[in-house]
Structure formats: structure tokens, C-alpha cells
């Protein structure tokens, strides 16, 4: 490299390295180090796996962990199933102006904070809420119904909150599918279902993977929606982390929990990428 380009290179790589090293890499290493130390006295620590032991010995922790993972996977699948037909409509059925308007309409709910979205569902679902009132008014039920504070409510909120992150990648990949390919498949005798399975879904695969990864991640790490819609017994893993860090001030155990969450999300993201033959650069970049 010439000196000039060399100086340019150093100037450009410095912010990147500062950001990644100081805010991502070292903090995570430090979190891991904290998670493998045990308090044996005042300001006295020794390294041990005791915190992970606590995690694996306490059924409540394991149960919450497994439950969070399964519900996140389920929420991702539901989001995908709901979003796919709508995205397909926006990308392939709607044309011109309608298309851009519909796409924008999809984005609107996500320009506002997650807390507002969750609040909307609370107003709808609570005992004195709209859905309950409508049900009473139509005579389907005779008294107020509480629809908050259960798993369905959590699921509704999670799916709603994640929708955008599924719709955007799906619309983008589906838009790039040439209409003529679908027509050709049709002319060759493909039925709707076989075209979907053999042409459309393979083409949309990068979008499906990208959307699913982001939605899964956001759901797994969500704190607000499970707490607000699920109430005290929502048993979401992030709540345990919050509890240890902020309420109990047991950072060692909290860090171990955080590390378990990170491990879980990394394993799942990695295996989804491997199974579908995608790479992080291709799906995210």
C-alpha cells in the first residue's frame, strides 16, 4: 500500500476495531469471566462453575430456559406462517402504487415503540378491555373475561411485535422472483401447491432464513412483551437475568444466565444457517 492509502486504512479501521473490541468482544469475555467466578467471602472470589451448577440444579431455571426456547421457536413459526401470504401478496399480487402503499402500511406499526404496541394489546385483552366488552355485548359470554396474563396473550404480543422483521425480508426476496418463472412453471403443468413448494419457497429461502433468525432472536431476548402480557408467572428467561442483575444484585449468576441465553441463540442461529446452507453474510448483509 502507498503511505496515503495506508493512513486512510488505519483511520478507517480504528473506529471499527474500537467499537467491536471495546463494546462487543471484551464485554462478552468479561461477562464470561464473571460467570465462572464464585463469591467465597467479602470481595473474595475463586473461579468455579458453581453458577452454572446452580442453573442446572434448579428445575425452575431449566424449565424457564426450555420454555422460553420452545415458545420463541413457536412464535417464529407462527410469524412466518402469518407473514408469508401477506408478503407474497405485497410482492407479487399488488402492483405499482398499491404495492408501495401496502408495504408502507406494514411498516407503520413498527415506527412506534414496542411499548406502545404492547400497550395496545393490553387495552384490547384485559378484563375491562375491548375484546371482553365486545364479547359481552354480543352475548357470547355473560361476564367480563380476562384474556391477559396467559401464554396465548404472550404469543399474540410476540408475533405482533416481530411481524415487520419477517415481512421486510420476505417481500424483498419475493419481489426479486421473476413473474415469468412462475408462469413457466404453470405452463409446464405445475399446480398452485407444487409451484409454491418447488419454485417460490426455494427462491424465498434467504428471506425466510433471515426473517426467522431475526424474529427468533428478538423473541428470545424480549423482556417487555412477556412481562406486560404474561404477568407475574410469564416465566421468560430474560426476566431471570433482570432479577439476578437488578433486583438480587447477584451478577455472577446473572452473567451465567446471560451466557446461557447467548449460547442458546448462537447454537440455534448457527444450526439454522447450516441446515439451510445459508451464511450470515448472505442473509444479514
Amino acid at each position: 500500500m502507498k503511505t496515503e492509502t495506508k493512513i486512510g486504512f488505519i483511520l478507517l479501521i480504528t473506529p471499527l476495531l474500537l467499537w467491536l473490541v471495546l463494546l462487543i468482544i471484551i464485554p462478552h469475555i468479561d461477562m464470561f469471566l464473571v460467570s465462572i467466578r464464585e463469591r467465597v467471602g467479602v470481595r473474595q472470589y475463586q473461579s468455579s462453575l458453581a453458577n452454572y451448577g446452580t442453573f442446572f440444579e434448579e428445575p425452575l431455571y431449566i424449565w424457564t430456559f426450555v420454555r422460553t426456547a420452545t415458545m420463541s421457536i413457536l412464535a417464529t413459526l407462527i410469524t412466518l406462517v402469518i407473514a408469508f401470504p401477506a408478503s407474497y401478496y405485497i410482492a407479487k399480487m399488488a402492483k405499482g402504487r398499491t404495492q408501495s402503499v401496502l408495504f408502507l402500511l406494514c411498516l407503520v406499526p413498527f415506527w412506534v415503540s414496542e411499548i406502545v404496541r404492547t400497550f395496545g394489546w393490553m387495552i384490547l385483552l384485559r378484563e375491562t378491555g375491548l375484546v371482553s366488552s365486545v364479547l359481552q355485548w354480543t352475548g357470547i359470554v355473560s361476564g367480563p373475561v380476562e384474556m391477559l396474563y396467559n401464554d396465548t396473550a404472550i404469543m399474540i404480543g410476540l408475533v405482533y411485535t416481530s411481524m415487520l422483521f419477517m415481512v421486510v425480508p420476505l417481500v424483498t426476496t419475493l419481489e426479486s422472483l421473476d413473474d415469468q418463472i412462475i408462469e413457466a412453471a404453470y405452463d409446464l403443468g405445475g399446480s398452485g401447491l407444487s409451484i409454491l413448494r418447488e419454485v417460490i419457497i426455494p427462491h424465498a429461502a434467504p428471506g425466510i432464513v433471515a426473517g426467522s433468525i431475526v424474529v427468533f432472536m428478538l423473541t428470545l431476548g424480549n423482556y417487555l412483551t412477556p412481562t406486560m402480557l404474561g404477568g407475574k408467572d410469564s416465566l421468560w428467561f430474560t426476566e431471570l437475568i433482570y432479577l439476578q442483575f437488578i433486583v438480587r444484585f447477584n451478577w455472577e449468576l446473572g452473567a451465567a444466565f446471560g451466557f446461557m441465553l447467548l449460547l442458546l441463540s448462537s447454537i440455534i442461529v448457527w444450526s439454522v444457517l447450516r441446515l439451510t446452507g445459508q451464511t450470515l453474510e448472505k442473509t444479514m448483509g
Binding site: 467491536l20 401477506a86 375491562t128 446471560g258 441465553l261
Partner: protein, 283 residues
Amino acid sequence: MIPSIPQSRFVRFIYTAYVVLFFVYLAVPLIVVAIFAFNDSQFPSLPWEGFTLAWFFGDARPIIGIFHERTILSSILTSTIVGVSVSILSVAVGTTNAFLFNRYQFPGRGFLYVLMLLPLVVPGIVLGISILVFSSTIANAVWSGFSLELETLRPGLGLVVLGQFSFIATIATLVISARLQKFDQTLEDAALNLGADRLTAVRTITLPYLAPAMIGAGVVAFLMSFENFNTTLMLVGSDAPLTITMFDRMKEGSTPILNAVSLLLMVGSSLLALMMILVQRRS
């Protein structure tokens, strides 16, 4: 499956109905929030007690509107300050990153690129606690080494800005890179041939070309920061940004003032987003 392929009317009807329902589903929670901002009642729920603007302008008990509610106003200010800082930082680092990845081939480039993407697949709460743990480690070390208390490394707005920046920078990088990739580099070469030095060429040719993407990334960064909850929750000190204040209020039981704040948020962010689209369309 596409308009040019014949479909039975029934299938077409079902499909359209599904899409309509989908948009209703997206809209209903927000509409409900907006409507109850005008309910003359202590609770954001039925029965409807009549239309009022008191949750915006009211200045006496029992209804104190947002424009007279100190805590909420100051947390909006806090969120704005945090949002602007995150936005400036992210666009700056995003731009240098975009140039780095587009213009230079160097060993470890692919590795750094993947590393740069990673913050998107780390749960926000983990980003939050890892930064909290690390900053406390440094602050404690400084304290026991030099008896110096580094206030900025304790939970507070500084850490909130860093925590949000740690993943919003990735998004800014991706947005700005996407536009820089489409840039015709011969334009810069032409400027160099005409006697400009490299810095002048970048400043007068490339940066103006990148401006829409930088503005776009800035707006997105601001909105993401403004609505961030998870990372902020772990790093917040005594000055709470708006989402944290609203969360605390909601736990205590909500009054329609939250609806009023939400409505303002919706209007504000829609205007910002509209502005961004106009800027991008003009270019």
C-alpha cells in the same frame, strides 16, 4: 398465484380477505391506543366517558395532561438526547465502516465483516449486561487503583448511548454500505484526474452521493434508539428515557396519559419516517 395466472374466484376472494384481515390485525392495537387518548376517564378502557383533550392539555387534578407532566416531558428530552447521540455516532462509524469494507482488501476482512454483523444476532439484554459488567470492572479497577470514581462508567445515559450504539452501528453500516456499493468509482477517478486530492474528491463527490443513505441511517438509528427497551433497561441510571418511564407507569396501572404519549410518538415517528422517504425519493 400471480395476476396473470387464472385463479378461481373463490380462492381469490379468500386470499384478498386474508390480506385485509392481516392489515386490520396490524392496525387495531394502534387505533385503540390512539382513540383512548381522548377518553374522559381515569382508565384507558370502556366505558366511553366522552371526548376530552385533557390528557394532552389538562393542568389540574384529576387529569394532568402530558404538556404539564414534568417526568414525561423530561424523559422525552432524555430520549431525544440519547437518540441524537446514538444517531450521530452510528452514522459516523457506519460511514467509515462502509468505506473500509468497500474500498480495501485486507487480510481478515471477511472475519471482521462477520464480526460486524454479530451484534444483530446477540439478544439485546445480553449486550446490555455485558457492557454493564465490563464498564463496572473498569470503574472498580480505577477506583481501587487510583481511588478515582468514574461516574460515566456507572449505569446512566453514557452507558445507554454506548449500549444502543453497539448494535445500531451495524444497521447504519449496512444501510450506508448498500449505497456506497452502487457508487460509480470512475466519478471519483475523474475528480482525481482533474487535480483534486483524494480527500477533496471524497468530500465533494462521494459524500454528497452518500448523503441520502446517511440521512436515512441517521433517522433509522434515532428511531431505534428512541424505542429501544431491552438494552436500555440494563444500563439505565437515574435519568430514565421515555420507554423506561412508560414501562414504570404501566406497571403501576395505566391512565390515558400513556395513550396520549403513545399517540404523540406515533405521529412523531410517522413524520420522521415520511421525511426520510421524501429525502430518499428526491435523490
